[in-house]
Amino acid sequence: MNWPGELARRVAMLVRRRQFDADLEDEMRLHLELRQEQQMEAGASAGEARLAAKRRFGNATRIKEESHMTWGWEWFESLVQDIHYGARAMLRSPVLTAVALISLALGIGANTAIFSLLDAVMLRSLPVKEPSQLVLLGTADWIGISDGFPITELYSYPFYRKMQRNNEVFSDVAAIFSMLNGVHGTVEGRDQPEPMSVQLISGTYFSTLGVHAVMGRTLTDEDDKVEGGNPVAVVSYAWWQRGLAKDPSVLNKKLKIGDAMFNIVGVAPPEFFGTKVGEAPDIWIPLSMMQQVPPNWTGYKDNFSESLYVMGRLKPGVSRDQATTNVNLVYQQILRGFPDAPLTEKNLKKLAITHVPLTPMAIGLSSLRGKFSEPLKVLMGVVALVLLIACANIANLLLARSTARARELAVRQALGARRVRIVRQLLTESMLLAFAGGTLGVGLASIANCLLIRMVSSGPRKVPLDVSIDMRLLMFTVAVTVLTAVLFGTMPALRATKLQLTDALKDGRGSHAEGTKSPVAKALVVSQVTLSLVLLVGAGLFLRSLVNLANVDTGFNKENVLRLQTDPSSIGYKEDEPRTTALYQQIEERVSALHGVSATSFSSFTFHEGSWNTNVHVAGFDTDPNINVKHNVIGNGYFATMQIPLVAGRVFGPQDTATSQRVGVISERMARTMFPKGNPIGHHYHIGSMDNPYDIEVVGIVKDVKFGDLQEAPETLDYIPYTQRTEYLSDFEVRYTGDFSAVSAAVQRAIHNVDRNLPITRVTTLDEQVARSITNQRLVAQLSTFFGVLAVFLSCIGIYGLMSYVVSMRTREIGVRMALGAARSDVRWLVMREIVVLVGVGIAIGIPVALAGGRLVSHMLFELRGTDAASLVLSVLILLAVGLVAGYLPARRASRVDPMVALRYE
């Protein structure tokens, strides 16, 4: 009726239960005394009176208990008791407890952490309205600007507008520039430009996604109608927090980006990071303003400046198939309808067979996904195996412990403890262990998450990913471990409490032979060995593959090169101005003069930074139009800085000027594959379209280098001097000797001496740059090694635990054997034999499993086969050695058994 009040009173009782008990006792004592006095008044002697009083009162102890239980807390009190007892029991064997806790924590923590990352990169839906209705035209495989015809990965702005008007399947269509613009902008009222990333989008972007501003407004189609007409920007919540300290008057602020002032009109909601996972823009600006935002892309009105991703929201009831049909129809119409479409016979043939696939956008775009989805899946498999091993370990430990406690349990039962009570006691202890491990695991998971983010971030800046702990998986892993603990913690308890008490009491070591056999425990050890072998072999493969990668000859000397990026576009330098070239030359001169610097050069790329590639046409030779040449615009000192050897001809020099014959240096590969037999030096080729060719005379040939990544085959590369082709060059390289930080400081000072406003970012070494290109391989190798070692360690503990237990169970038998004349070495062998069999069986099962697993990951390995014998043999040897050491200690203990002591114990 009045249960809240009742509950409050019950809780009050629980909190002050000592007081309550004392009160009750006082009260009852008073009662007895009063009754006794009354009896004495009636003429009884003191003794008689007390007896009479007690008789009339009844069983005081029982009444007290009954009163106490009235409050309904006895379950709680015995739970507290159990926990106390359990904690004491756990602390009595601290090593065992620590091992169990660590295995649990690592199992739970690692799984949760890896899954959180996997979820963030691969599974989680965008935080937008009905993400399942969003589809992308194409597959977002390309990034950049193309003028190809016909292509389905990138689209021009006029194409987007026509698609928006003419389709019949989308309720809304939006376009996203395929690259982020990394700019240096200035917040109004500050004097220092700050780095910020700008995402150019169509005005329909936010409305298509169904995302609303938390302050002000989002962008609208109106903002995107007139080229250069609407300098407005929406900022991300994170940037508002980070860059503007959550300034409430943000909507009155302006941003100076390039030469234009942008009005901040809104703040996006906190959970919205854009549409590309792992790439959170700070600022969204309409595509109509693309030319105002450095590096000042043009092409707003160009039918074939293809640089956009186009996405649409399906109208309700429209299937993806229907949409694909309609989109392809409209696509063909639009491309044929452009007046400047290059409708040659060849192109028309190509267009006829071109098909636009629609890709679901629910989980957003991501370049991380391509790179990390495989490694993450492998790692998820690895940590799942680790969890299995951890569970097996816990099972083994608990099994051994509760079997060893059979005597204690028998004593308690003999003293009248109910079976339920004993089982509950053991259950509580197991749960205590599981929850303590779980808590540690959660802590570990959050630390591991930070570490993982660091490891997947290839640059100095952390990848913006939300990897908050995934509750579903946490629940799952905790449930698995709790279940294991409960199952293996209570199974022996149930068995123990069923046994004949007299047997167990007579002999704690159990005259029953079943204990020494313990098939469950043995099966657990065998499976641990098997899983460990699989993990070890995996770790070996990934490590060796990583070593192979790290030893790849890059073609350039990556040691002792400092590299940094500058951004002249943000402080008003224009791409085609002579003063931009002059800036580069001045900086190169100043820095070259520094002590400890031997060569310097600007360039558009060094390594693993994307590419600018086009077809080339070699005069008088039928070049394959499918081969693209990657171009690198460089300074005269580039080859000296990178130490790329010259094979023939010359490198660039002061004789190559803006007005002299345009020249180029080509890679050996390009010389071999794209030029007629004989010496290419002196030959001409051109890049760009037929009507506006950029003609180049080959003056030199250099050795092949790695350009995009370490795995690639030699690329067709050419080098063009910036003195002849002015461009924004982001990279600056310095070959130095001596201390990096000293040189780095001197270089930056020298640059600021030339122009003190020039922003400098990403100061690092070339070596580091190369290392970052294999981040995912390193991630997999490091983590799988860590987990492989962990697995072996856990298995050792498992073996050690089982054998110690077996030895203690067999002490009497060993005593008898020794009394009958068995030598110590015989006894040792008796125990070791069992270990060898267990490890051997585990390895025998493990080898085919490991080979199969190796085949599964072979495509992730570099210059190594999945069935690599060295990794396998080494893993088997390690496991054997470690297993035998773990088993040797208990075996030695067995051989030291004193037969007299063992027998007298009976």
């Binding site: 009742e6 009173r9 019950r10 009662h31 005394e33 009162f57 009235t70």
Partner: protein
């Protein structure tokens, strides 16, 4: 002297009624009072009073407070609450219904 156990289920009723009649009382007084007012016919197993009182405390029918007896001893006094007073009505009507039914059964026999 012949004493009868109190009928099952009536202990609450007796305690509540006693508290109404006597006002604040401690356990011994309640036991004595029940015995006396039933002309020594009803005998409470005195100990069982205490679990019952605990239950009544939980239900909120009575409150308890420490005080001193006439003999200057510390005793816990139980006092009826409004909820207790209401409960007495419930218990009485329940008792009367049962006793009436029992009486009818006996009369028809």
């Amino acid at each position: 002297m012949n004493r009868d156990e109190i009928p099952p289920g009536t202990l609450y009723l007796l305690i509540l009624k006693t508290l109404v009649v006597r006002g604040e009382s401690h356990g011994y007084e309640i036991a004595e009072s029940i015995q006396r007012s039933s002309d020594e016919v009803l005998q409470v197993e005195e100990g069982s009073l205490y679990p019952a009182l605990q239950r009544m405390l939980i239900k909120g029918w009575v409150t308890a407070e420490w005080g001193t007896t006439a003999g200057n001893r510390r005793a816990r006094y139980y006092k009826l609450t409004a909820a207790g007073r209401k409960q007495l009505g419930v218990e009485v009507s329940h008792f009367e219904r049962v006793m009436g039914a029992v009486a009818r059964v006996i009369q028809t026999a």
